[in-house]
């Protein structure tokens, strides 16, 4: 029941869940639930009574109890509670004071008036009240919620251990006992520990919030700018991440991670002036790891210093520790460089080497497409291959034969002499076309026309014209002769 979100509960349910939470020691949730109950039904006497018990602040307790008495002047628990308050805790309460006597609460089923606060029961220090904000030092007569109403800063952080809210006035979590330290005395170490704990847990939003406070306390601390950059990067907020890296570089101009991350970002955006600036600083970094070398090569390539990029890539390829994907990428880049410099043969070799790396990445796909589109000169065995002749013939032959089949409605009996002649001519014409255009070096043509076969201009043109003519004649015979 208590696990249900408050919006799914009715007022009696909220009150019951609040009481259960209070008894379980979860005063924060009890406050939330009972406050929700009183907001929905301001005349709910029991809700006000238990809310007075759930709150630590005497002033707030008084308000709650006065509400109870306004609704029911005869309520004995509220009367007793107010009497205890009048004779007990002073108003307003100082920031670091500890209540001298147990504060009053409703004498409901669990008789919380008679019970000590939950934290005291566990042998831990009782919660310190927060009538003033430790951030902006503003004084308040009313109890503060989890945020300061004036400066809006958090007065309560989630415990990384048990995920319950822990007031900054506590040195340890009242639920699980995790030690937080003294917030008022040493805010930065307190928050730094919290930041590390949140990061270890992967609670990026909370870590960012704490990191913001840390940056406010120590704006020149590079480590918090680095943390901000990494956290924003983690949630995909690239702009803020980049800004944090920039601020980090302002503080530490040689910070390696900031330099490399910014360089990658500028590479993606093709921002060459910024890359030029970073390039020099990146070159000063030691040690020169494979990743850094690759980045430098990419920057050179982006800055059109192709020679330097090529040198860097080749140097990198000599490193044995390089993984296959990086190897494929480097060969692709080298292929692009060679192609840009008008050297298609080495470009082809590099693209082939990229494919030979044996991985399936975007780089190898690009290398394959480059190879496909480069139209490299065919090897001699391809120009003399009967298989290629057959493949090249298949298109025109199928075209004519399929038209013939359609013309006779797939009824072979309707095929006449003209049609048959058309089918034969299609084969002959296709053969001539294929030989002239694709495989001019097959043995019969070399025997007939010498070593260059049909690759010679005049025989090639003649074979093309005759072949094309025969295919055209075949089409006419098939379409008009049957």
């Amino acid at each position: 029941m208590a696990a249900l979100p408050p919006e799914e509960l009715d007022v009696p349910g909220l009150v019951q869940a609040g009481i259960t939470a209070y008894r379980a020691g979860d005063r924060r949730r009890a406050r939330q639930l009972l406050t929700a109950a009183t907001q929905r039904d301001p005349r709910h006497e029991l809700a006000w009574l238990w809310l007075s018990a759930a709150h630590d602040d005497a002033a707030f307790k008084r308000i709650c109890l006065e509400k109870v008495l306004a609704l029911n002047p005869q309520n004995p628990n509220a009367r007793r509670g107010l009497q205890l308050l009048d004779g007990g805790a002073p108003r307003p309460v100082s920031v670091f004071s500890t209540p001298e006597a147990p504060l009053p609460g409703p004498a409901g089923p669990a008789a919380p008036v008679a019970r000590p606060p939950a934290a005291t029961m566990r042998g831990r220090p009782a919660p310190v009240l927060t009538p003033s904000c430790p951030w902006c030092q503003a004084e308040f007569t009313r109890p503060l919620a989890d945020r300061c109403p004036r400066c809006g800063r958090r007065l309560e952080f989630d415990c990384p251990e048990c995920e319950r809210g822990v007031s900054v006035n506590l040195e340890a979590c009242a639920q699980c006992g995790r030690i937080f330290g003294k917030f008022h005395a040493e805010r930065e170490p307190y928050l730094a520990r919290l930041l590390e704990a949140y990061r270890a847990k992967g609670w990026v939003d909370q870590a960012l919030l704490v990191n913001d406070y840390l940056l406010e306390l120590a704006p020149a601390a590079a480590r918090y700018h680095l943390a901000a950059a990494q956290l924003y990067d983690q949630i995909g907020d690239t702009t803020r991440s980049v800004n944090a890296y920039r601020r980090l570089l302002d503080l530490e101009p040689g910070q390696a991670e900031a330099l490399t991350q910014l360089a990658r970002w500028y590479l993606t955006l093709h921002q060459t002036p910024e890359l030029k600036d970073l390039s020099q600083r990146l070159r000063a970094l030691k040690p020169r790891t494979a990743r850094l070398t690759l980045l430098l090569g990419d920057i050179d390539y982006e800055l059109d210093d192709v020679k330097s990029a090529e040198r860097t890539y080749r140097e990198l390829l000599r490193r044995p520790e390089l993984d296959a994907a990086t190897r494929a990428r480097l060969h692709l880049r080298l292929g692009e460089i060679n192609l840009e410099r008008g050297r298609p043969a080495p470009a082809l070799r590099d693209y082939e080497a990229s494919l030979a790396a044996g991985v399936d990445t975007e780089d190898t796909q690009a290398a394959r497409r480059r190879l496909d589109s480069l139209r490299p000169p065919l090897p001699r065995r391809a120009l003399a291959s009967y298989g290629e002749t057959g493949r090249a013939m298949l298109g025109p032959v199928l075209l004519v034969w399929l038209l013939a089949a359609l013309q006779v409605g797939f009824q072979v009996a309707r095929l006449n002499l003209a049609g048959l002649l058309g089918l034969v001519l299609a084969v002959l014409g296709s053969y001539l076309l294929a030989a002239a255009q694709v495989t001019p070096l097959t043995p019969e043509w070399r025997e007939l026309l010498g070593e260059a076969g049909l690759a010679q201009p005049v025989p090639k043109a003649l074979a093309t014209v005759i072949g094309g003519g025969l295919v055209a004649a075949a089409l006419v015979l098939v379409l008009a002769g049957m």
């Binding site: 030979a356 394959r368 496909d372 065919l378 493949r391 298109g395 399929l402 013939a404 409605g409 049957m482």
Partner: protein, 231 residues
């Protein structure tokens, strides 16, 4: 509803001339049809479609000179949306395919796929006297070849599921969905005994199958050799 918008850029400079030519031919033919319908009137458009649309029943009955209509019908369309979607699909998939085949081979391949679509229509719906028109059989062939040659290529697709989205879907999902849809429609038509859909489902299936089977036949020799070398 899935509408492919773009299958990516060609990796080599140059234009897909065959694709552009085919689209221009279709547009010219459509302009002629529009003129017949609105300029001439008196059923001139329908007479034109009856004369040059692909009517399987006429071929089965041996009315001569009709195979040419299998070619001509590939360039005729029944309305603006018909030609728009056919040309959109063609423009989305054909340029990358043409890059691998070359323009002349692509044109032959495209024509052959259209003819294979017509052939399947003739075989499965041979008595129909309703003329079929449209480039969809040939375009389906292009899609089949694309599926074979670029299965993992991301295709920018307009998807309507209440609201429009523009995801980049892998080709195998997009084309797989399309062909499954066509196969289901084909099964329904077979069970009904007549084509109630008004869609050239056999042309689509024949063209698509033809594209799948014939794609490698029409690849340029250097592409074939590169691919063999890479294996």
């Amino acid at each position: 509803m899935f509408i492919p918008l773009s299958a990516g850029k060609r990796s080599y400079p140059g234009q897909p001339w065959a694709t552009i030519g085919i689209i221009l031919l279709n547009l010219l033919a459509f302009a002629w049809e529009v003129w017949l319908a609105f300029g001439v009137g008196d059923g001139a458009f329908m007479a034109w479609v009856r004369a040059w649309g692909f009517t399987p029943g006429l071929l089965t009955r041996g009315v001569g000179g009709r195979a040419l209509t299998a070619l001509s019908s590939m360039y005729l369309h029944s309305g603006p949306s018909h030609i728009f979607f056919n040309m959109l699909y063609l423009w989305a998939f054909a340029p990358l395919l043409e890059e691998l085949t070359g323009s002349v081979r692509f044109f032959v391949f495209y024509t052959l796929c259209g003819l294979l679509g017509a052939a399947l229509t003739l075989l499965l719906d041979g008595n129909s006297l309703i003329p079929g028109i449209g480039a969809s059989g040939a375009v389906a062939g292009v899609m089949g070849a694309f599926l074979l040659l670029y299965p993992g290529q991301r295709v920018r697709t307009l998807v309507f599921i209440g609201l429009p989205f523009w995801p980049r879907l892998p080709a195998w999902i997009l084309l797989g969905l399309w062909i499954v849809q066509q196969a289901i429609l084909g099964q329904a038509v077979l069970e009904a005994g007549f084509n109630f859909s008004g869609i050239g489902v056999w042309a689509h299936l024949g063209g698509f199958g033809g594209g799948l089977v014939l794609a490698t036949v029409f690849l340029r020799p250097d592409v074939m050799f590169n691919r063999r070398a890479a294996v």
